[in-house]
Amino acid sequence: MSYEGAGIPYYAVYSSRPWVPQLQAVSVSAKLTRREAELLDRLTREYGFISKSEAIRSAVRLYLNLLELRSKDRLRMLQVINELIAPSSRTSSDLVEEGHREENEI
């Protein structure tokens, strides 16, 4: 079954029931690193998801919802995510300036 006409990359999406003409859902596989798989195992248990699939489905929905926000809201959310994951007191100017200095030293 080809998805090319529908604009879906056929190489990444596999039908869970290829014989059903009108697909209700598709399965998408993804490779995880060992660390990510362990984290998924742990968080699935800690947050009480029914299964790892359910945890991944929720994560994907949350991520896609974030990307669908309107421009300014998305940027504000990304700023918060950036600061929570890697907080830093260094300013943008200092970071770019430092990069320039290093490149000039090469």
């Binding site: 940027l75 990304l78 950036n82 994951i85 943008s92």
Partner: protein
């Protein structure tokens, strides 16, 4: 307003700084209002990536931030042979950093065609090049012109 966005300004989008909220508003205005225009060098993406990596952001977050940057109404101008040649001359005559020279040369190469008003930057080195490029800071872009 029609602006060239220098990397020090673009990095603000992904950090919490005093004027980073203003930068988000500005980009929102650029996205939504047809009479606003923004461009930057394709090279800026590398500088933004480098700055975010230096800031300790993990690979996935740097990639997400760059994808986000490409999603907005910002034109990314290719680094051509002409821009590189002009950059060499700028370095020789003004003693500026190579990256700054690429931005000034890119700005000059498109300023007339794209009818640019200014280069938006926090880089104090570029202030010295006032005769070649009109440099504005975020504070100088009137808060009245940017819709919150």
């Amino acid at each position: 307003m029609r602006l060239y966005l220098e990397p020090s300004i673009l990095v603000k989008l992904f950090k919490k700084e005093p004027d980073s909220a203003r930068m988000v508003d500005l980009l929102g205005t650029i996205d939504e209002q047809r009479d606003w225009f923004a461009c930057t060098s394709r090279w800026s993406l590398l500088e933004v990536a480098r700055a975010l990596k230096k800031d300790g952001k993990p690979k996935e977050l740097v990639e997400l931030n760059l994808r986000e940057l490409k999603r907005h109404r910002i034109s990314f101008i290719a680094v051509t042979e002409k821009i590189l040649s002009d950059s060499e001359i700028l370095i020789a005559s003004h003693g500026i950093y190579a990256s700054d020279a690429v931005h000034v040369a890119t700005y000059s190469s498109v300023a007339r065609v794209k009818r640019l008003d200014a280069m938006l930057s926090d880089d104090r080195h570029l202030r010295r090049l006032g005769q070649i490029v009109n440099v504005l800071t975020l504070n100088e872009v009137s808060s009245d012109t940017v819709q919150s």
